[in-house]
Amino acid sequence: MPFVNITIDDIRLQVPKDATILEAAQKATIKIPTLCHLELHNRQTVNQVASCRICVVEVDGRRNLAPACSTKVANNMVIRTHSPRVLKSRRVLLQLLLSNHPKDCLNCYASGACELQDLANQFHTDKNRFEGESSNFAIETSSAAITRDLNKCIRCRRCETACNDMQTVGVLSGIGRGFNMVVGPAFHAPLQDTQCVFCGQCVKVCPTGALMGKSHIDPVWDAINNPDKIVLVQTAPAVRAALGEEFGMEPGHTVTKQMVTALRRLGFDYVFDTNFAADLTIMEEATEFLHRLQHGGRLPMLTSCCPAWVKFFEHQFQDLLDVPSTCKSPQEMFGAIAKTYWAQKLGIDPAKIVVVSVMPCLSKKYEAARKELSSSGLQDVDYVLSTREIARMLREAGIDFLSLPAGEFDNPLGFSTGGADIFAVSGGVCEAALRMAAEVITGQPLETVDFEEVRGQRGLRHAGVEIAGKMVNVAIASGLGNARRLLEEIRSGKSSYHLIEIMACPGGCVGGGGQPFVDSKHEFEVIRKRSEAIYAEDAGKEIRSSQKNPYIQQLYKEFLGEPYGEKAHQLLHTGYTGREKL
């Protein structure tokens, strides 16, 4: 690759010819501030609109200042990143941005995780220099999962890039012009009326508090403190691999046992595990897969645990509604079992039970509100807290998370195998299903339960897995843009896969829209570390295949009967509805 010589803040260096000034500065360990700029997942997704101008630098011989994020280097270029002119411009730009921003940081949920606030601190914008017109939008709360406060929007359009380029959902665009331009759905439609899947990737990339998960904290506190309610909490596999980060831990550690103690101290009556239901999901899903495989059913079969993915195909691939598995997600299976089997076992009126989920996800809030997911006659799940929300509750309650002693989940709905842990990572559901399917097909225990060939960080992977001399072709996609490619293959009849796993968020649930905020530059690395922690959790489990979970076996014996049988269908399976594509 050809190189050029540049001088940046008196440091001379060689950089690739096609580098931007921003990239060149990174090589010289000079940090140029950015705001609208976004690079995600090893630069597969880039927002380079150069609209905020915070990254401006001075280039010798150039009349105006240059935006570092989108200006390419040239040979013998001399760049100054913190000259008086640069610093003054940045401060004015910030003051202009702030002139139409609420400046209500004390009451903003994003406070402490807001890039605009960070910049205001960095450039000590000590006064409100420009008084002008202010936006006055009503807060948009139409959906069950995401709330929009456009008064806080700085029009960086990072959300639009995440939604349209990475996820190919295509809900967001700049609508209108000039001061009145908003980033939102076509025709200013409320989010609820669009094909938004609530994956929450827009919330993750929003530099301010304009996009938020809808909070369930208050109703959960109310339920906990209501003596007439029995409040169950279930925790998704991915939460344990990230919750520690909220309390200052380095990424890459699971905090399962402290989390159990923390939830007990918050006041939940029973601390259960979505993992239990993940094992149950494998019983149903692997059985359904074998059924389709052996009885000439619809192939490939697609997994259905991700509610964002389910809504995606309901909108975008209405002709393929028979392809996904009919299994409910683990969160919903848990609720259905808790309000039937468990309630009967303990002689509790199911109407008194409140099921609270802790999820790495915002779409789970939407899923919990889907009317048809109510097989006991009550909604399977009542409230959903994101990883960020449970951390907030722990801080509110003054619980010193890092010094908590280890705790154990309650049984029977708290016991799980390694097959359940790996639901947190892209490829995990597929691997857990293979662990069971292979043993059922061969009738022999597996020599190793590790299917390394389905693991990895790439957003789109495929593998052939030999079982009893037959090749099972699997594909794995994380990120809906990748999923779309697999679906288009199926639509055109060119798909040769038997089993496809799809997760809406890059990296799977560990990278979910409800997980702790991470600087987007490091997100790929953080997701990898969280994934490794999950695989370590799996490897540390005594039992690693879902079908060997003794409490699951007990559940079928005492209550459900056969996997994929009549009662299982009634409680654990669902159907899909074609939805309009706005």
């Binding site: 349209n164 609508i175 025709f187 209405q318 996904p324 269908h569 669902t574």
Partner: protein, 179 residues
């Protein structure tokens, strides 16, 4: 047993109201004639503005359904299409009346009483500037200097210019178009 429910795949062609069928056919013929390569996103984006121009010629404005129709045909997100439509003043999202009344708001017309003319017309027609009367006869708009300042204040109806207009003359002028 729970099964997947099929709904008819009506994603590509939104319901076309009976009276507009011919217009939609005209638009469809135009879009088909563009022969855009489905795999070429830049190419599909490049024809969006010409497609919107043609659609506005056919329908006189760009209602929601037409924007969806174009998005489906060009395989673009509706949000992107609506983003372009809402960016350019030229594109109209509301149906215009049979006649367009435009009041000049240039400096000369303004100081010589354009506001009074607008007030009179608005109260007579029960529609505000930018709106269309309920009978669909008039759309009220404003324009900047037409270069006839000596005739201020100026009103244009369907491009015909009226000069030195007074509020008292407005009923008679409108009556010409209300026949």
């Amino acid at each position: 047993m729970a099964t997947a429910k099929h709904s008819s795949a009506a994603a590509t062609a939104p319901a076309t109201p009976g009276a507009d069928t011919a217009k939609y056919q005209q638009l469809e013929a135009f879009l088909t004639g563009l022969k855009v390569d489905g795999a070429d996103l830049a190419g599909r984006r490049a024809v969006l503005i010409p497609a919107l121009h043609r659609a506005q010629e056919i329908f006189s404005y760009l209602p929601t359904e037409v924007q969806k129709f174009i998005a489906a045909h060009l395989n673009l997100h509706v949000s992107e299409v609506n983003g372009v439509v809402s960016f350019y003043h030229y594109f109209k999202t509301k149906m215009s009346g049979k006649h367009t009344i435009e009041f000049c708001l240039g400096t000369a017309c303004y100081v010589r009483g354009a506001a009074k003319l607008i007030e009179k017309a608005e109260s007579m027609l029960k529609a505000k500037l930018g709106e269309t009367t309920t009978d669909g006869l008039f759309t009220l708009g404003s324009l900047r200097c037409v270069g006839a300042c000596s005739l201020a204040p100026v009103v244009q109806i369907d491009g015909k210019t009226y000069g030195r207009v007074t509020a008292e003359q407005i009923p008679a002028i409108l009556a010409e178009y209300q026949k």
